[in-house]
């Protein structure tokens, strides 16, 4: 299934309307990403890289154009279909970790599984397995507040993997970490890519980080320039 196009963006526009002012975040983006690719989307602030990732990740919808994921046109999908894609096909890793503060590491990881109707016991077992995989086997019952930034991001990675998605999307995943921990996190993501063949798409403004990816996608003024 290599060479299969997993994301196919055709003339995608995203325009924000605030009172009388129109802001063009994306201006006719055309982009294809194949299954198993490791790509970095980079560009200066305001170039539309995060918007692009949000649209690819079904967190947002385009104003114009088509986003086709695994051959299915997302413009024909309802909110529940889009939620199902986010839950089953894509695992997100955010800059600010975005863990639920009141839940333990294991509960945070198991949450997307619980959304899928899996029972608490099974979901917690899978969470324990994944925590071990990201090197936090002993942090099962710790709340996010009791974990370091790097550890929280590992928990977030484990959560992204819990439903065994095809794609891992990282929005500045090392942005809140010191450089050493940042490298460790990237190594963890890359290791996953190598071992499982999952498609990895990282958004970053860090050139060094972008260069680690096998494919560079650059954005400027709402367009993909390369």
């Amino acid at each position: 299934m290599k060479d299969e196009v997993i994301f196919d963006l055709r003339d995608v526009w995203k325009i924000y309307y605030m009172k009388d002012v129109e802001t063009h975040a994306l201006r006719g983006v055309n982009l294809k990403v194949k299954r198993g690719e490791y790509a970095a989307i980079s560009g200066p602030s305001g170039s539309g890289k995060s918007t692009l990732m949000h649209i690819m990740g079904c967190l947002d919808t385009p104003t114009k154009g088509k986003v086709i994921i695994e051959g299915r046109d997302t413009s024909e999908m309802d909110d529940n279909d889009l939620a199902r894609i986010r839950r089953e096909k894509i695992g997100f890793v955010f800059q600010a970790y975005n863990l639920m503060p009141g839940l333990t590491a294991a509960e945070n990881i198991s949450l997307p599984m619980r959304f899928n109707g899996i029972g608490k016991g099974d979901a917690q077992r899978r969470a324990a397995e994944l925590l071990k995989k990201v090197g936090l086997g002993d942090r099962l019952h710790h709340n996010p507040g009791e974990l370091s930034g790097g550890e929280q991001q590992r928990v977030a990675i484990a959560r992204a993997l819990v439903n065994d998605p095809d794609v891992i999307m990282g929005d500045e995943p090392t942005g809140n970490l010191d450089s050493k921990t940042g490298v460790e996190i990237m190594e963890l993501i890359e290791d996953l890519h190598e071992k499982t063949g999952k498609t990895v798409i990282i958004v970053t403004h860090d050139r060094k980080l972008a260069k680690r990816a096998k494919r560079q996608i650059k954005t400027l003024d709402g367009k993909v320039v390369r």
Binding site: N80, R87, E88, A96, M100, P101, G102, P112, F115, N116
Partner: protein
């Protein structure tokens, strides 16, 4: 995901306690007031079962809303003269007539003088005694309700003073004999002597030969005696029911206002909770939760909160109702919480909370995950 709902509530103690307090106050108010209506309804029903619905009461005109215990009348009620009593009892169709001398003492207790042999017409034949027994018809003694005895601080063999005359306590009814907890029953002749009624009666209870004659007897008595009222237990009860209805309306009025205040409180706290958790809701959406999953989560929290606080409220109401009976009603267990009232109140608390949480829950669905996560 009820476990997550419980964790969420436990994680925000102040907010949870404040919301719970709103539900708690509303349900406690409803149950406490409702218990009085329920008690009154029960009293009406139990009195009907004690005294046959075909029994006719005859007495001088009076305002029924002041009626006391069984067969009772207010102290201002005028007595019928001996010849009038005789005439009433000899009305065609009457099987037997029992004249009763009734006096209120202290506003709460009532003295009833009647032929002890005929006490069955009064529904008193099966009363159990804590000590002693019924006075004989020729005895100068009385049987006292449990609360009456408690209040006078007397036991069998002691004396109480009624209308400046000594009355021996010959029996005390078992506690919990309903309205009989509040009465003093003595032989007719002795009451006649104490109150100097001269063969008269405050009221007469009539048993018809046949139930079909009830209306005819009533009509005859009222036609022959302008100053008398004749009514069946049913007539009397329908008047009492009117009172109960007024009380019920009052209860529900206060309950409604309390619920409204509670509902607004719930909406505000749940809405604040949604605003406060915008980021968390955003995370849930980003990681694939359906809108309805989030809505259910919020409603589950409301459910857990309302079940716990409503049950607590009903529990505490038992204490309040006990206090109400003790302090305001002088130890009479009038106000009562029936299983139906308790279950109904819990269900009402749950429905009120869940409905009040619908709007905040719908707000939660509309949270934009990108905006919510960006704010983090």
């Amino acid at each position: 995901m009820l476990d997550i709902a419980v964790r969420e509530l436990a994680g925000h103690k102040v907010r949870t306690i404040l919301t719970a307090l709103g539900i708690f106050i509303a349900i406690t108010a409803i149950v406490s007031l409702g218990s009085i209506s329920t008690g009154l309804n029960e009293l009406v029903t139990s009195t009907t079962s004690l005294i046959g619905s075909d029994t006719i009461f005859v007495m001088k005109h009076f305002d029924f809303s002041q009626m006391g215990g069984p067969g009772g009348g207010p102290p201002t009620l005028e007595d019928m003269k001996a010849d009038q009593v005789e005439e009433v009892i000899s009305t065609p169709g009457v099987k037997r007539g029992v004249p009763i001398i009734a006096r209120q003492i202290g506003g709460l207790f009532e003295v009833d003088g009647l032929d002890i042999e005929q006490k069955d017409i009064f529904g008193a034949e099966d009363l159990e005694f804590k000590e002693g027994s019924w006075p004989e018809n020729d005895e100068k003694g009385a049987a006292l309700g449990f609360i009456v005895a408690e209040s006078f601080g007397v036991v069998v063999g002691d004396y109480i003073t009624l209308n400046k005359k000594e009355v021996e306590v010959v029996g005390i009814f078992e506690e919990g004999s309903g309205a009989y907890d509040l009465v003093i029953i003595m032989p007719y002749d002795f009451a006649d002597e104490i109150y100097e009624t001269d063969g008269g009666a405050t009221q007469i209870m009539l048993e018809p030969v046949d139930i079909s004659l009830v209306e005819g007897i009533k009509e005859t008595i009222e036609e022959d005696h302008d100053d008398l009222d004749a009514m069946t237990m049913e007539d009397a009860l329908s008047m009492m029911e009117e009172m109960t209805v007024t009380l019920n309306i009052m209860t529900f009025g206060i309950g409604f206002v309390a619920s409204l205040v509670a509902a607004i409180g719930i909406i505000i706290t749940m809405y604040t909770s949604v605003l406060e958790r915008k980021r968390q809701i955003g995370i849930m959406k980003a990681t694939g939760a359906f809108g309805r999953t989030i809505m259910i989560q919020i409603l589950e929290e409301a459910l857990v909160l309302s079940v716990v606080s409503s049950i607590l409220a009903v529990g505490i109401s038992f204490f309040f109702v006990g206090l109400l009976n003790e302090m305001l009603l002088g130890g009479v267990n009038l106000a009562m919480i029936t299983p139906a009232l308790a279950i109904g109140a819990v269900m009402y608390g749950v429905i009120l909370t869940v409905i009040s949480s619908l709007y905040p829950a719908r707000m939660a669905i509309k949270v934009d995950p990108i905006e919510a996560i960006r704010e983090g």
